[in-house]
Structures are given as structure tokens and as C-alpha cells.
């Protein structure tokens, strides 16, 4: 298939990285905690890539990305649990369901709100994030399984290095191909100038919706992987701060830069989790005092992201 042939260098690189990680995990050199963090990094990269499509490439400011991540997580976990299909065999189907549900919600909500721009779109997506949080908090009224504000417990652990890694790599390649196709080109046109885009025949409303739906699909898939990694979901996992987390990764990696998102995902999650390991227990409280300070320093040092010194 041409898809794999054209990407053979990336696929080769991915296989090498996978083999190294597999070896590291199998030999028991790293703790289970670190294994989990590494798998989590791939999940975060996938979700952040979704936001990069929406914001970095298409210029649609979203402060509610975590809501779609949460929708994917809850949908996938709920399906797996209630249908009894809690095996690795049906896992791809429930992951896909998580992504599709996030995409569907993005479609329905996107039609009205994507007419808004910049900060107004930001505040509308932020508001939507709050609405979804309220929904999760009250989800036990719909079904006891969802757990409401107590959290969704007892999800089977199905996400391992293989699923998280290969799903993420595959979807990153898909994303790269979309970005380099006419669709990605239109997204970049729209980010720069919507009026000019329409003047050359680009259906801006439709392309914006497509970028939003696709980006949220990636978040939904990432959420599904997350649910089956940590086996417990709580509404607070998907609040405003998680949306900001994804945004930080996109900004650090550089707007409209997929490779940058990958590096930044590693650096940001690695840094946050690294502090947890590095700091002695008695000053662990200080972690969240340091992290924001570092974030502020980073923004002053590299306001255009870690990879670009200044506007290109």
C-alpha cells in the first residue's frame, strides 16, 4: 500500500523506538509506574495533535479539548463494560466508538459555535467543557455504571504499550497525510485569511468543521486509550486544566508542527512526572508551585514554542 510505502522511514523509526521500549519494559529495568507514564505520553501526544489540527493548523481557538477526550474515555469504557466485550479482541471497536462519539458531539456542537472566532470561540469551548463536566458529574442519573461525581470505576486494563503506541503512530501518519493533502492546505489558508479562502472557492465553514471534528476524533481515541490504561475515570480528569495541558503542549511544540507536538508531549509530561519522582516526599507539595513558574519562564524565554526562536 502506498500509505505505508510513502511513510516507510517514519514507520521504520517507530519500529525501532517500539523495540527499544519493549526491551526496556520486558527486562524490568523501569518501574511499572514509569511504564505507565510512557504509555500515557503517547496518549497525550495523540490528543494534543488533535488540538494542533484544530488550533495550530486551522486557527480555531479551543479551551475545551479535554471535554472530547473525556467523551471518548467515558463512551469507550461504558461500551466495554455494559456489552461485556472487555477483551483485547473487541478493544479496537470500543476505541473507535470513543473517537466516533467525540467526533459526533464535535459535529453537533461545531455547527453553531465555529462561527465564532478567537477568544469568543475560546470562551464558548470553555463553556462547553464546563457543560460536559456537569454532565459527567451527573452521569449516574443516566446509568449507575458511569458513577457520576464518585467516578467511573472498574474499567478493565486493556491499554498496553502496543495499543497506545501503534494506534498513536498510525493516527499521526494519517494526520500528516491529511495535513499535506488539499484539506490541510485549506486549513492553513483558513487560519491565515478566511475571506481570501472563500474567494478562491474554499468552503470555509465546512473545512473548519472538518478540522474540528477530526481533531476531536483524535482526542476521543486518546480518551478511550486513557480510560483503559488507568481503569478509573473521574470528571475532574477532564476539566479546564486538562484542556490547558493540551494547549501548553501545542504551544511549546509550535503551532502547526506535528513533530514539535511529539517532542513537547514528552518534555511536558516527562517534566511533570519527573518532578514527582525527583522531589523528596516532604516538599512534593511544592511541585505545583514550581510547574507554573517554569511555565511562565518558558513563555518568556520562547514565546513562539520550544522549537522556533521567533516567528518564522
Amino acid at each position: 500500500m502506498r500509505f505505508f510505502l510513502e511513510s516507510k522511514r517514519h514507520i521504520l523509526l517507530a519500529l525501532v523506538i517500539y523495540a527499544a521500549l519493549r526491551l526496556l519494559f520486558s527486562l524490568g529495568i523501569v518501574s511499572e509506574y514509569i511504564e505507565q507514564v510512557v504509555i500515557y505520553v503517547f496518549i497525550v501526544i495523540l490528543a494534543a495533535t488533535g488540538l494542533n489540527v484544530i488550533y495550530g493548523y486551522t486557527g480555531q481557538f479551543s479551551l475545551g479539548h479535554a471535554a472530547f477526550y473525556g467523551i471518548g474515555a467515558y463512551t469507550s469504557a461504558y461500551l466495554a463494560k455494559t456489552s461485556g466485550l472487555e477483551s483485547i479482541f473487541f478493544f479496537p471497536a470500543t476505541i473507535l466508538a470513543g473517537g466516533l462519539m467525540a467526533a459526533l458531539v464535535a459535529y453537533v456542537i461545531g455547527i453553531p459555535i465555529l462561527r465564532l472566532r478567537d477568544d469568543f470561540l475560546g470562551i464558548a469551548t470553555l463553556g462547553f467543557g464546563i457543560l460536559v463536566r456537569v454532565f459527567f458529574d451527573n452521569s449516574d442519573r443516566i446509568s449507575e455504571v458511569l458513577g457520576g461525581s464518585r467516578g467511573f470505576t472498574g474499567i478493565v486494563k486493556l491499554t498496553n504499550l502496543e495499543t497506545a503506541f501503534f494506534v498513536t503512530v498510525f493516527l499521526l501518519l494519517v494526520t500528516r497525510n491529511l495535513i499535506t493533502s488539499r484539506y490541510g492546505l485549506f486549513w492553513r489558508c483558513i487560519k491565515e485569511d478566511e475571506t481570501a479562502s472563500a474567494s478562491i472557492g474554499i468552503n470555509t465553514a465546512r473545512m473548519k468543521l472538518m478540522a474540528f471534528v477530526y481533531g476531536c476524533f483524535l482526542a476521543g481515541v486518546a480518551g478511550a486509550l486513557y480510560a483503559h490504561l488507568y481503569t478509573f475515570l473521574h470528571p475532574s480528569n477532564f476539566d479546564f486544566l486538562r484542556s490547558i495541558d493540551f494547549l501548553i503542549i501545542v504551544i511549546l511544540g509550535g503551532m502547526g508542527n506535528i513533530a514539535g507536538t511529539i517532542y513537547a508531549g514528552f518534555i511536558w509530561v516527562g517534566f511533570i512526572e519527573g518532578l514527582r519522582i525527583a522531589l523528596p516526599g516532604n516538599i512534593l507539595d511544592l511541585r505545583w508551585v514550581f510547574i507554573p513558574l517554569l511555565l511562565i519562564a518558558l513563555m518568556m524565554w520562547r514565546p513562539y514554542g520550544l522549537m522556533t526562536k521567533k516567528k518564522g
Binding site: 502506498r2 500509505f3 484539506y183 485549506f186 485569511d193 472563500a198 472557492g201 474554499i202
Partner: protein
């Protein structure tokens, strides 16, 4: 012969100010119509109404005999109405070639699936898009600049790139808004040549807003004179030059060209 464009009693007001007041005109195939008039006469508003960036308060616009008053801007572009902007609106961070391919690709499709899995259809269409880009770049003197960011080009080349981008949608009608703005007399002469070539080669009908009298008189078959949102007169360049109302309203300010 049906007119390419027929504008019928078009009106538009902004907050009580009548920007365009019952304008009607026809442009037959192959004609170049120049629109002149003082600043604020409503010329660009007419363009924005034709391309539907503004919604007309009343009136009708027919393109190739079909009413297009209610179509969205991108639909009009796909039907074959291309335009350039008074203040350049290039995709500055995209490359020169991408500015052109994006315009071609908007009307020449392949599915997202084809894009992701790089099907034959994808290859064929992309190849044509790039051929189109290189042809247009050669034609408009942008050869060898395909990989440069559009924003890095000098002003005159940006103007030509915007023209190339508008041509890439393969329009039947081209609306050009002040192509000569900010150009020196030599560049204007080049521009006249280019516009003549473009028109002949692509078999175009053109409407052009222009302040440079030399340019507009030289290239237009007919000229429409606007003031205060109304049509003062329409005629050949020679007729316009002679018309007392025009001399008073417009040419009078600068003296006859």
C-alpha cells in the same frame, strides 16, 4: 448573447449610509469594464456584493444568465468568479506555489480517504495542481519563487501572485480591485501588458476598479463612473472623457487624463 454578469438595481447601506444605491450594469463576454469614481463612491462595495462578502439589501445579480444573489462566496468562486483585493490578501505564511495550488484544488477534488491513503486520484489531481502552479508562475514572472513564503515577496510580485491565485480557480469573470495601487509608471506599463495577455490567454471577462486613469482608459472597453453609490454614466473611454458630469464629479479634481 447572454451577458457574463448582469447587475440589477443593487443596493446596500451601512448604518444609514447608502454605499451602493440602485446600481445596474451588464458585462458582455470578453469585455473589460473599468469602474472609476472618487474614494468612498462604493466601488469596492460593488465587488463585495458581487462576491457575496456583503449581502445586498435588494437587487439581483445574474452570472451567465443564472441568478446567483443568494449563493455563498465559495460557491461563486467555484462557478467562475475570481477576484483580487484592494489590500492584498495573500496567505503570507504559505509558499508561493501553495497559494496557487490551494486555489486550483478547491475546485478539483479528491476525498479525505484519497488524501490519507494517497490513492491514484490523489496523485493525479495533486500533479495537475502543481503543473498549474508552475505554469501560472512562469506566466506571471514568478518562476523559481515557488518555495518562498508569499509574505517574503516584494510588493509588485505579491500583486502578481494574487492575480495568479485568482486565475488558478479557472475563472470566467475576474474582478480586479486597484491592481495599479502603489506601482510606478513603468510597473503600470508592465501591468497593462500582463492584463492584456491574461485576458487573451484565459478568455476572460474582466471588471476592474482603478484610480490610475492611464491604466484604466488604456485597457477598458467600457467604463462605469460611480459617485455616492450611484452610477453617473457608462460608456467607452472616449465618451467618458468627454462627459461633463464625469469631469465635474471626478476628473475635474485631477484634470482630464
Amino acid at each position: 448573447m447572454t451577458a457574463v454578469l448582469e447587475v440589477d438595481r443593487l443596493t446596500k447601506s451601512f448604518g444609514g449610509i447608502q454605499a451602493v444605491d440602485g446600481i445596474s450594469f451588464k458585462v458582455p463576454p470578453g469585455e473589460t469594464l473599468g469602474i472609476i469614481g472618487p474614494n468612498g463612491a462604493g466601488k469596492t462595495t460593488v465587488f463585495n456584493l458581487i462576491t457575496r462578502f456583503y449581502t445586498p439589501d435588494s437587487g439581483d445579480i445574474r452570472f451567465m444568465g443564472r441568478s446567483v444573489t443568494h449563493l455563498a462566496p465559495h460557491r461563486l468562486a467555484r462557478l467562475g468568479i475570481g477576484r483580487t483585493f484592494q489590500n492584498l490578501r495573500l496567505f503570507r505564511e504559505l509558499t508561493v506555489a501553495e497559494n496557487i495550488t490551494s486555489a486550483y484544488l478547491s475546485g478539483n477534488r479528491y476525498s479525505p480517504f484519497a488524501g490519507i491513503f494517497r490513492t491514484d486520484r490523489h496523485s493525479v489531481v495533486e500533479k495537475k495542481a502543481w503543473q498549474k502552479a508552475y505554469t501560472l508562475m512562469d506566466f506571471l514572472g514568478l518562476a523559481g519563487k515557488g518555495d518562498a513564503p508569499a509574505g517574503s515577496l516584494p510588493y509588485g510580485e505579491q500583486r502578481r501572485l494574487e492575480l495568479a491565485r485568482a486565475l488558478a480557480i479557472e475563472p470566467k469573470l475576474l474582478l480586479i480591485d486597484e491592481p495599479g495601487a502603489g506601482m510606478n509608471p513603468r510597473e503600470i506599463r508592465d501591468l497593462v501588458e500582463t492584463l492584456r495577455d491574461v485576458k487573451k490567454r484565459f478568455n476572460l471577462t474582466i471588471i476592474m476598479i482603478e484610480h490610475q486613469m492611464g491604466l484604466v482608459m488604456n485597457i477598458s472597453d467600457h467604463i462605469l463612473v460611480m459617485d455616492f453609490g450611484e452610477k453617473i454614466m457608462q460608456g467607452t473611454p472616449a465618451e467618458v472623457r468627454r462627459d461633463a458630469r464625469v469631469i465635474e464629479a471626478y476628473l475635474g479634481e485631477e484634470g482630464p487624463a
